[in-house]
Symmetry: C2
DNA sequence: ACCGAACCGTACCGTACGGTACGCCTCGTC
DNA sequence: GACGAGGCGTACCGTACGGTACGGTTCGGT
């Protein structure tokens, strides 16, 4: 059964509905199993019938949860005027730091795990959503900065997309896949800062004008 | 119930057992669901009872499948004598090419999906196995080459582990996570060659002596 | 005060799947 | 040829979970 309304535009959600999604997310974060309709209903103190009325079916609930939570990920915007090499470097480094912090967080790991599992079956929605709000959102934020850097004569890059993908690689490296595969020692703040700094240095070494 | 014998050392497997594991793998590759004991039994033309006798339980079967298949991944070894800059570059580039080819293959994607899902529940085995035969195997093959490059005065690196992780990032970038999340347009051979070449160039730009 | 909508709690149904039991067949060994 | 081990096919059981039904309660509107 199709969900009655699939709010691709979010925030047609009442507070109570957000409570439900929070419950689902909580269940998801501490152990992907346990995320059952009965479990969500119990944790949110609501009835299963309500869940089905609001979200159509299990998949609708999952989609709503992922969509709503993924949309929360916000990177700090960077104002592109008054761009000199130092502010650009600071911006990129902070970018990497924020990104690594989000990536290694419980919620991000749980969401990506769910989406990856989901992409294994035929239904592809969750993977697309997470990709959109994850990698692609990062790209949308990052590429204008790179282009601004190029226009300011600070960076030498032909294709912003390719440069972004390299930046992605320099920042994320093997961190994400290791977390997804169950290595639960999250890097510390200091570690993240260090890695972001090195990513920035490396990126400038490769693309600095 | 625990599997009767958990052959952490592989290849205590008869041909018939390998047939079974192949069936499981096939089921896994075309759509992670459908990978059910009944499905495997049907596909391998064997009885469920035999499956349970051989592998203990579903988890044992999955583990055996992943372990056996993951062990198949072989990178071409690199002889570290007579190392000049050109052969090192060729080795690293081929390394990247092979790695991207494996990573984007159906089997690798399916295996990693399964392992990631599995790591979401409390049982962590599969994640560890894939990590060991994936990233870690790559590291074990790669780091000696990097150290040889350093000893030959071709590379400047303090910590091989850190250098390897950067190499990993330069090669893999966002490719793996995108495949895992369901983006099924696999990069072509030409695309992979291009990316491996750029990864090699970038790596030398960062670590070349 | 009354009514209806929304919702909670719980009981219930159907099915899919992990795991077991059992009858039959095949084949190697004596 | 007799026999037992190993294995195939199938029927079966228990349970977990997605999904539905329904009675009881709260609450806002009239």
């Amino acid at each position: 059964m199709a969900p009655p309304n699939l709010f691709i535009d979010d925030e047609a959600l009442t507070d109570r509905q957000k409570d439900v999604l929070n419950a689902a997310l909580g269940l998801l974060v501490d152990g992907g199993d346990g995320l059952t309709m009965t479990g969500v209903a119990r944790r949110a103190s609501c009835s299963k019938e309500t869940l089905y009325k609001w979200f159509g079916d299990r998949d609708g609930l999952l989609t709503a949860t992922v969509q709503w939570q993924a949309a929360k990920v916000r990177m700090v915007p960077v104002d592109r005027q008054t761009l000199d090499r130092r502010t650009l470097a600071i911006a990129l480094e902070k970018f990497g730091r924020d990104w690594l912090t989000v990536l290694t967080g419980d919620i991000s790991v749980a969401l990506n795990r769910l989406a990856v599992s989901h992409a294994g079956q035929e239904k592809r929605n969750l993977g697309a959503i997470v990709l959109e709000h994850g990698r692609n959102a990062m790209a949308r934020r990052c590429k204008p900065v790179l282009e601004a850097g190029r226009d300011a004569g600070l960076l030498t890059l032909d294709d912003p997309e390719k440069a972004f993908r390299t930046f992605f690689g320099l920042v994320v490296r093997d961190t994400q896949i290791r977390m997804l595969l169950g290595e639960h020692e999250r890097p510390s703040m200091e570690q993240i800062s260090l890695e972001a700094r090195q990513a920035r240095e490396h990126f400038f070494a490769l693309y600095g004008a």
